[in-house]
Amino acid sequence: MDILAQVLNGLGIGSIYALVALGYSMVYGIVQLINFAHGDIIMVGAYVTYVGLVMAGVPLWAAVLISILFCGIAGVLIEKLAYSRLLKKGAPRISLLITAIGVSIFLQNLSQLLFSSSAKSMPAMFPNGMLELGALQVSSNTLLNIGTSIVMMIALQLLVNKTKIGKAMRATSEDAGAAKLMGISTSSTIAFTFGVGSALAAVGAVLYCNTFHQITPYMGGMLGLKAFVAAVLGGIGSIPGAMLGGYILGVAESLTTAAGGSQITDAIVFGILILVLLVKPAGLFGKNTREKV
């Protein structure tokens, strides 16, 4: 029973990874860019929630909504200001990656200047109680995390597979040039993808705040990296894959901590990444693609 409780705990944390991984996966799927700044968008979302909730004292629903909107707009702005010029020129990937790192450092240092580098504590946001499931005790926050992540994944699946903009996204990811010839505005589709991914990161940020109660300007770095590992594990570009990867990572972490290895959880995460790259580089749900010349 103890192990089962740890697994559930891990699923709760894994849900946060999963939400962030979704954003990575979407952006990577459409422009083949590892958006290093994505982790820092979570940090932005967390600080916006903090400003709304603690400093301005707006109600919870408004703070969450503002945070989601703010991050969505920030995502689009970052794409327009930093990436779109490079994407249009078809710049080499290394330039895009370096730009992404630049954006990431910029966001970290900006928030450090604005809010100082010391950690800010977040109040509890949602009522937390213990639920009894048979002999098992689960905190309601864990269930909230898991529930939110599943709802978000289903919504995203519907968005990508059933709507017009989703069709445009899939077309752009398949072949941006051909999509353009079919009359799809690829640049606005890409911007939209960044916006949706960043909004999802804000949802992840709210759950993060509610789970850990502490935010720092550097919280996005490791969280973003772990989420990226989750996305690679699940198969980058695949929505259910990103979710599954997040859950697996969360459970692996929580079991390592339970076994007394809390110091080496980060090492375990990257051990998993090395293993995936060696054994199944396309990830669990990824398609093996042949490169054509």
Partner: protein, 325 residues
């Protein structure tokens, strides 16, 4: 003209020697005080780091975000060697630097093999993760001094050592890039598929260049450890890796001259602008984005300063003048 090919090399040698003599005379005459000579040592260490990272990022075209990680591995390995080997210091220090480099190579292979077999940006993530793992491992294993750091490292790094090793690094990487192996590496950067079709073993050459970069980072780590005397695992974090990367990007990816200049300037600049330390990383990040947006190849691009070319131009002019006369 062919007989005169050795002349530029001699000129370079003379210039380097002259620079060395001038600097070491200034140091021993105390005109450059110990504080400034310490900065000079850091300049040389950063030159080694930037030039070696340029090999992986500029010439091979793979983004490496854990150069400080390799540096820390080399630093710890070299320090532990000098502290516990029991050999006389004059022998143990060069061996320790070599050990530092080789241990970094071992880690480079462990990371490089899974990441470099694949196309894409996995190396960036793995090296970034590696930098973090190393920090965690250094805190976890018993013999590194943990969070308190490793202290009591003998201060063996002299200006002569760092200067010679910086020159050697630049020389070796320059020679490598201009050999057939270097051309293979550059071919992979330009077009991996075409390079493979031309019969280049891409995985081998990617690994070779990456591991070479790791080796020099390890050596630089050993020099750093014996310069400062204390190792703090927090020093070799992601920000330090990024600082080295900025030197490479700013100087020009694929220009050794650029890396050397950028390493010198970016090491001296923070000393001059102490008051701006709060804004340093913010400014760096903006510079990084702007360089990528407006001059993606870096300030010098792939330009190399070449005495041979200057020499050629001078002798050509002379020959032309003689012809006219």
């Amino acid at each position: 003209m062919k007989t005169k090919k050795w002349i530029p090399n001699v000129i370079i040698l003379v210039l380097v020697l002259a620079l060395y003599v001038v600097l070491s005379v200034l140091i021993s005459a105390n005109i450059i005080n110990p504080y400034y000579s310490g900065i000079l040592t850091m300049v040389c260490i950063n030159v080694i780091l930037a030039v070696s990272l340029n090999l992986a990022t500029g010439f091979l075209g793979q983004l490496v975000l854990g150069h400080a990680g390799f540096m820390s591995v080399g630093a710890y390995a070299a320090s532990l060697f000098t502290m516990y080997s029991g050999l006389p210091q004059i022998i143990s220090f060069p061996i320790a630097l070599l050990v530092g480099g080789l241990v970094a190579v071992v880690f480079g292979v462990i990371i490089g093999v899974p990441a470099l077999r694949l196309k894409g940006d996995y190396l960036a993530i793995l090296t970034l993760g590696f930098g973090e793992i190393i920090r965690v491992l250094i805190l976890a294993v018993p013999f590194t001094g943990g969070a308190a750091g490793l202290s009591g490292i003998p201060l063996l790094t002299t200006f002569t050592y760092v200067f010679i090793l910086a020159i050697l690094t630049v020389g070796i990487i320059f020679a490598f890039i201009h050999s057939r192996h270097g051309r293979a590496v550059i071919a992979i950067r330009e077009d991996e598929i075409a390079a493979e079709a031309a019969g280049i073993n891409t995985t081998y050459y990617k690994l070779l260049a990456f591991v070479m970069a790791a080796f020099f980072a390890g050596v630089a780590g050993g020099l750093y450890a014996h310069h400062i005397g204390v190792l703090d695992p927090g020093k070799f974090n992601f920000n330090y890796s990024v600082e080295i990367l900025i030197m490479v990007v700013l100087g020009g990816m694929g220009s050794i001259t650029g890396s050397v200049i950028a390493a010198v300037v970016l090491t001296l600049l923070p000393e001059a602008l102490r008051g701006f330390s709060e804004y340093r990383m913010l400014i760096y990040s903006i510079i990084l984005i702007c360089v990528m947006l407006f001059k993606p190849s870096g300030l010098l691009g792939q330009y190399e300063f070449s005495i041979a070319r200057i020499f050629k131009r001078l002798t050509h002019k002379k020959a032309d003048a003689e012809k006219e006369a």
